[in-house]
Structures are given as structure tokens and as C-alpha cells.
């Protein structure tokens, strides 16, 4: 009874604070680490984050999905993967695919994989002076980097880190949603230049309707009532979630058809401009990162990648968390990032460690 009375008394102030958090979310600081533009090509921009204590010879190139902003790598001061890598002495580059619009309707996965990404890598090499890089891809970004390595056997890439990569789409929720007669991507492709980012975001949220549409706002309100709300953390993530670039229609059509309707990547039937994407040819040191509660790229859909990869230096980091929370959640700095650093550091010396190549295949879980 007392608590009910107290809730009623504090309700107006809680409502005011809750509303304030919602209304001021667009002003949240996201992607605050200083960076410089190294190269631009169409809507794609390559950024460089300079480390003041660079101690690793191999620079890192980060790539993210097409349907959200890469700012998630640099979410907010104190909870930024990029900030962490810089503190650990890595030279960091980031590919930003930009905000596609009607004029980008004919930009396809092959363009990103065979033009944008190789050119960005070339620029990283020229700018950093390094001979090889570490390629980190997240979500669709992981699939794009995998495709690139699958068609470029001699890529100047020493290490590959796919984070929560969609690979085998069979029996996934996305396949259920997208592989039906009503989903006529050809019809869509003829009538629009892009799929609006907001629509893609809504569908993604619908995969977990109660947590996304009710659970999150409700939890925030309760935290406000209890005085435990972390306004900065909530706003930065909320702002990032709401920032959805459009999906260029050609890329969308290819993604839906190739990955979800025909499952070409997992079955080795994917070709880009006639070149077969052969993931078994990837010989880079590889750390596959999966998330136990990932509903976007479920762990069970990524694990079959181990049956395909033949690289001698292969490890699996299976963390606790969701598709995004794994790398950007409050526990990432403590649980995941240090493990990625521990894996990367010995593989980022000037000379390629000879022992790395002679190891017996390791697919054991780090977690």
C-alpha cells in the first residue's frame, strides 16, 4: 500500500523524466571518437581512428551491416569498441556505407564486395603503410567480408573476424518471413529504388515483438521510477537503433534471394559476377564470434561455417548476449572485447607468426 501511494506521488515526476529521455534521445552523442576521412567513393566513406599508442603493425578495418549505422562500433565514450581498440594500440579504420537513396537502386552486394570493399582495403594499406590488415565484419558486414575473401584468395588480409554472421539461413525466422510467395522481390525491384530503413527496422523488431515494443519502454519507465535509469546508455543505444539507412533495392533483392530464399552462401552456390564465393579457400586466421541469444543471425546458423572453413588457424568465440548486445552491451567491454584483443594481438605483429600457420585446426569455444 505504501509503495502504491509512493508510486502515485512520484508518478508525475517519473513521467516527466521518462518523456524527457524520449524527447532528447536525438541529441545523444554517438560515434564521438575523433576520426578523419581517408577516402570516399559514392556513398561509402572510409574513416581512420588514430591510436596515440600504436603498438600493432596490422591495422583493423571494421565493416558493418547495410541496414544500420556503423556507429555501433563507437557507441558512446566509455562503451566504444573503437575506443577500446585504440587504447590497446591498434590502428583502426571503419567503412561507412552511408545513406543510400533512389540513385543507389542499382548498387548490389557485388558492388559492395568487389568494388567498395577492395578499394577501401587498398586505401587502408596505402594510408597505414601496412602490408596486411585485419578484417572485422559484423552481421551483413561479416557476410560481405566473407564473400570478399571467398572470391579473393590472395587478399591482403591476415586475420578475419566475422561477428554474428548470417550464414546458413535454413529454418530461421527470416527464412520463414522472406521465403514465401507474397515476397516478390522482382516486383519490388521494378517499382522502388530502396526498401525504407524504417520498414526494415520495424520487421526486425517484430521478430521479438513483446521485448522490443513493450519490454524496453516498460523497463525504462520502471528504472526511471526506481531512480536507476542510465539515461546516457539508453539514449545512445536508442538513437542508434532508430537510425536506419535505406536498403538499396538491388542489394536487398540479392540478399533476400541468395541468402534466405536459396541459401546460396551456405550451400556454396553463390557467385558474384561469375566468380564463385568459395569460403573453403579462405586461409586467413579466423575468429568466428557468435552470440548465444542471437535471433537475427542465430548461433546455429553460423556454426555450420566451421564445416566449410579449412583455414589452419580457426577459433570460435561464443559469447552470452544478443545480436547487438554481445558487442555493444554493458558486458562487452569486460567479457568479449578483451578476448578479441587477446586473439588479435599475437596475430598483429609485423611478421606473420610462423607458428600460427602450423597449428592444428582449433574449433574449440573460447567461452
Amino acid at each position: 500500500m505504501r509503495s502504491l501511494l509512493r508510486n502515485m506521488i512520484t508518478l508525475p515526476s517519473a513521467l516527466a523524466e521518462y518523456t524527457n529521455i524520449w524527447l532528447t534521445t536525438p541529441e545523444a552523442v554517438v560515434g564521438a571518437t575523433p576520426k578523419e576521412v581517408v577516402w570516399t567513393y559514392r556513398k561509402t566513406t572510409l574513416y581512420r581512428y588514430r591510436s596515440s599508442r600504436r603498438s600493432h603493425a596490422v591495422p583493423i578495418l571494421l565493416t558493418f551491416a547495410l541496414i544500420n549505422r556503423p556507429d555501433i562500433f563507437d557507441l558512446r565514450p566509455g562503451n566504444s569498441f573503437i575506443e577500446f581498440l585504440l587504447e590497446e594500440g591498434f590502428d583502426v579504420f571503419l567503412v561507412d556505407w552511408g545513406y543510400p537513396d533512389e540513385e543507389d537502386a542499382d548498387t548490389g552486394l557485388d558492388d559492395y564486395v568487389l568494388e567498395h570493399l577492395p578499394r577501401a582495403i587498398r586505401k587502408v594499406l596505402r594510408t597505414s603503410g601496412a602490408e596486411e590488415i585485419t578484417l572485422v565484419g559484423w552481421c551483413i558486414g561479416a557476410a560481405l567480408t566473407g564473400m570478399y575473401l571467398g572470391v579473393t584468395p590472395d587478399a591482403p588480409v591476415r586475420n578475419w573476424v566475422p561477428l554474428t554472421m548470417p550464414f546458413d539461413a535454413s529454418n530461421t525466422t527470416y527464412q520463414t518471413l522472406l521465403d514465401n510467395d507474397e515476397m516478390d522481390v522482382e516486383w519490388l525491384a521494378q517499382r522502388t529504388g530502396y526498401l525504407p530503413g524504417a520498414h526494415v527496422d520495424t520487421v526486425n523488431k517484430l521478430l521479438k515483438p513483446v521485448p522490443n515494443f513493450v519490454g524496453t519502454p516498460l523497463r525504462l519507465f520502471r528504472e526511471v521510477q526506481d531512480g536507476t535509469a542510465d539515461k546516457i546508455a539508453y539514449q545512445s543505444m536508442s538513437k542508434w537503433v532508430a537510425d536506419n539507412p535505406n536498403f538499396p533495392m538491388r542489394a536487398f533483392r540479392q540478399w533476400v534471394t541468395w541468402i534466405y530464399q536459396e541459401n546460396r552462401l551456405a550451400t556454396g552456390r553463390l557467385r558474384l559476377r561469375g566468380h564463385r564465393v568459395d569460403l573453403s579457400s579462405i586461409q586467413q586466421s579466423t575468429l568466428v564470434v557468435t552470440a548465444s541469444n542471437d535471433h537475427i543471425a542465430p548461433r546455429d546458423g553460423t556454426v555450420p561455417l566451421f564445416d566449410v572453413l579449412t583455414t589452419q588457424d580457426l577459433e570460435h568465440l561464443d559469447g552470452v548476449g544478443g545480436h547487438i548486445g554481445l558487442m555493444a552491451g554493458s558486458r562487452a567491454r569486460r567479457d568479449i572485447w578483451p578476448r578479441i584483443r587477446d586473439w588479435l594481438a599475437p596475430r598483429s605483429h609485423e611478421r606473420r607468426p610462423s607458428s600460427t600457420r602450423s597449428e592444428t585446426p582449433v574449433t574449440g569455444r573460447m567461452a
Partner: protein
């Protein structure tokens, strides 16, 4: 740390809501995972695109009749610029490759012949020099090949 009276036990209303949500979540999850829901989402996307297209066409018609550039004109202009940028990028790549070859040639001609490969700088060749280049597939697009 939250004080004890603020726990769920002390908030019967919260408990009711949580109980309701814990029952509703799996049910809705099942709905979302169904083929019929997928069909509805697909049809919604089609309707959205159709409405958007009609709106764009009407807007462009109005603007063009007022002799003002519409979105279609901007798109067309952008594509022309993109084609130009492609050519510039190709020229830039060629120039940089020639620069690298020239620098290599100069270095070879000035360096003593045997066993002096170490450059002394850990981990990096001079900035602006390309490292190992990859023989990636041709950047030129062959329309719809492999799709």
C-alpha cells in the same frame, strides 16, 4: 542499488504486467514465426512501395509542370556523377599503381644489391605506398551475372 520495497514483490501491478507479458511473449513469438505472418509482412511491404511510388510520381509530375527539378531529375544527375566518379577512381588507381612502380624502380636502382631488405621501421612501409595488392575479380560489372 534499488531499495527492498521497490522489488516486484512490493509492486503487485508490476507483477501482473510481467505475468501477462511472459504469457503473451511466446504466443506472439509463435505468430511472428508463421508463414502467414511472413505473407502479411510481404504484402505490407508491397503496399508501402506502391503507395510510395504513386506519391513520388505525383510529386514529380507537379514539380516538372512547374519547371522545377524533381527527385527523378536529381537521381538522374546523381547517376551521371557516379559514372564520372567511377572513371576518376579508375584513373586514381592507375596513377597510384604507377607511382608505386616508379618508387620501387627508384629504390631498386639506388639500393645496394644483396641482403639489405630491412627498412628498420617496425611494421610499416612509408605511408602512401601500397602494400601487397590483391588480384580481386574485375571491378567492372557484368549485368545480372550470377544472380
Amino acid at each position: 542499488m534499488a531499495e527492498e520495497p521497490r522489488s516486484n514483490n512490493a509492486h503487485p501491478m508490476r507483477q501482473y504486467v510481467d505475468d501477462f507479458l511472459s504469457v503473451a511473449a511466446p504466443g506472439l513469438q509463435e505468430v511472428v514465426n508463421s508463414k502467414s505472418f511472413g505473407a502479411m509482412v510481404s504484402q505490407t511491404a508491397s503496399n508501402l512501395v506502391a503507395v510510395q511510388r504513386i506519391g513520388h510520381e505525383v510529386s514529380d509530375l507537379v514539380l516538372r509542370n512547374a519547371r522545377i527539378a524533381g527527385r527523378a531529375d536529381v537521381t538522374s544527375l546523381h547517376r551521371q556523377l557516379a559514372r564520372t566518379e567511377d572513371k576518376l577512381e579508375a584513373v586514381l588507381e592507375t596513377v597510384e599503381r604507377l607511382e608505386d612502380e616508379l618508387a620501387d624502380e627508384r629504390r631498386r636502382s639506388t639500393e645496394p644489391t644483396s641482403g639489405s631488405a630491412a627498412d628498420g621501421s617496425p611494421g610499416a612501409k612509408p605511408a602512401g605506398r601500397s602494400g601487397r595488392s590483391s588480384s580481386s575479380p574485375s571491378p567492372r560489372r557484368v549485368d545480372n551475372q550470377g544472380e
